[in-house]
Amino acid sequence: MKTLAGWILSSPATLAVSLFLIIPVAATISVTFTAPGGTFAPYVDFFSSGFQRTVLWRTFEIAAITTVISLILGLLTAYVVSRSAPWMKSVLIVLAVFPLLTGVVVRSFAWLIILGRNGVLNNSLEWLGVIERPLSLLYTQTSVVLALIYIFIPLMILVLIGVLENIPDDLLQASASLGASPTRTFVQVVLPLATPGLIVGAVLVFTASFTSYATPHLLGGTRQMTMGTFLHQRAMTSFDWTSASTVAAIMVVVIVTTVLVMTRLAKRLNPMAS
């Protein structure tokens, strides 16, 4: 009876998830298995192209680098914020969240202004005498990664603040009283306890970076095409929906696999993470 009630109560949510998540994704992916040429022909076509393999690897690389740097910077920032006085904590959280108040396009565009040939960075370096002529900083992998870190690090910080705040001060004091240095306490006490937050933050940042479109489009251009911009090209300008669906399916597989690997890794690092 209890089970039946559970099923009935959860049915609206199940229906919503099916309608708005599972069915659209399944419909998108199913197209790739009914294409002319064989069940896996679109996937064979995708992986037989050096360019397309490069795009996939480049996207993975950009997402991975963004995630790792965001993890490091986010953890340090969140640790400082979580250990601050309450009034200072509020100020720091507002500052961390502030960039989220504008759209991704605006935040990406800000980096065009910073990294452009006549941008803030080039002008400053020229004024300081470090360079004689402007550097070409846009349309590189570095510019895409920088902007993605800026855009997604608030997510990481917010997630980690919540986790780090829940680590009792008693534990840190106990660690110190047993002779551990602050660094050792951070590595051996704080870090394992923060693992669930790190995994959630990493998954959020990786997924968002891997699927991002506007930032790679604006700061990477055609030279740094990623899976998002490539998917747009296939669907909206080449009208090749099978190929676009194949790209989408590969993106789903990469993301799901990465999430599973990270969750497994988290379990090994900290069994509580499960």
Partner: protein
């Protein structure tokens, strides 16, 4: 009692019908799919007078060529009564079976158009405006003037060019010009044409997909040269006054903007009326004078000043190079892959 009720109901129903009939006429909607540029001017010059003529409400779908054509394809040709596209994309729409032939008897103003605008793609939509694809450059930054398509390959332009992306209207023209430079037909010998495109690669900072992107690249100083359509020149010069249109000895390339009636149009007769209205000498003249579109109605007479921004007049129009989009679209998939290999690796 029963009789009274029936007569009351009949009277009320008749009154309701009479009251509703004007509303029903105004409830008829006519959907126009276009880019969305110059919205205020088009509203005043085309939409408001046409709404009075048709006693209908005109609604819009806006976006770039590919987005709108893609949406139309997803809807199986339905949801739009007329669609504005450049000729590369209208040819694609024809090949996808999304447009219906135009009944030219219902659009007598087609006879007044320049020959190349009357039936640029056979029985389908006429052109309502004409433009050019050429080269624009910042005269303050480029040492010697650009006078030929081959100048794009000049060594002094390294890292300073933006080309239109291969999936835009003008993008495939780069390949055709590269073929011409190699002395081959790009359709027959794509290897030779793309070898020239690869030689151009060091000069290219990035490719752009919209006119606005190209203007941004100029205004932020990222590029000094680009291949562009002439409709963007006004906005470009407003942003960077030192940008000029190159006078190319080997000629600019014509682009025709067409209007088609999709297969799923629910107002086919009205769509023909719309075409006839837009192609009339009066509307074409007003659009040109107001800086919206170049006229293709041969009867439109412009002063030198009014004609300055436009591809206008027999002499200029006959000097343009034309593109056959049938073989271009047939080769485009392979060209996109080759292009990506050069610019995206």
């Amino acid at each position: 009692m029963k009789k009274l009720n029936i007569s009351r109901i009949a009277a009320v129903s008749s009154a309701a019908l009479l009251a509703a009939s004007p509303a029903l006429a105004q409830d008829r909607t006519f959907t126009v799919s276009w880019w969305g540029f110059n919205g205020d001017a088009l509203q005043e010059i085309i939409i408001e007078p046409f709404q009075e003529m048709c006693d209908c409400e005109v609604i819009f779908e806006t976006g770039n060529n590919s987005d709108r054509l893609s949406r139309l394809q997803l809807r199986g040709g339905e949801g739009v009564d007329v669609i504005y596209l450049t000729d590369r994309f209208s040819q694609l729409g024809i090949e996808l079976g999304l447009f219906q032939p135009i009944d030219r008897a219902q659009v007598p103003n087609i006879d007044e158009l320049y020959d190349l605008a009357q039936a640029p793609q056979g029985e389908y939509g006429p052109a309502y405006s004409i433009g050019r694809v050429g080269i624009v450059y910042n005269a303050d930054e480029v040492e010697s003037p650009i006078t030929s398509w081959d100048d794009l390959w000049r060594e002094d332009l390294q890292g300073s060019i933006s080309l239109p992306g291969i999936t835009t209207t003008a993008g495939p023209m780069v390949v055709l010009r590269a073929g011409a430079r190699a002395g081959v037909d790009a359709y027959e010998d794509p290897d030779a044409a793309f070898a020239e495109v690869a030689e151009l690669q060091p000069n290219v900072l990035t490719n752009y997909n919209t006119g606005s992107e190209m203007i941004n690249l100029f205004s932020t100083g990222e590029i000094t040269v680009s291949m562009a359509q002439d409709f963007a020149l006004g906005r470009l010069q407003a942003a960077v006054p030192s940008v000029v249109w190159a006078d190319l000895e080997d000629g600019a390339i014509a682009t025709l903007n067409t209007i088609n009636i999709p297969t799923g149009s629910e107002n086919v007769e009205l769509a023909h009326q719309f075409l006839n209205f837009v192609l009339s000498e009066e509307i074409q003249h007003t659009l040109a004078v107001r800086g919206v579109d170049a006229p293709v109605n041969a009867g439109v007479d412009l002063t030198e000043e009014e004609a300055a921004p436009w591809t206008y007049g027999d002499e200029m129009i006959s000097s343009l190079n034309r593109i056959d989009y049938v073989p271009l679209n047939a080769n485009l998939d392979e060209w996109i892959n080759r292009w990506n290999e050069i610019f995206g690796m």
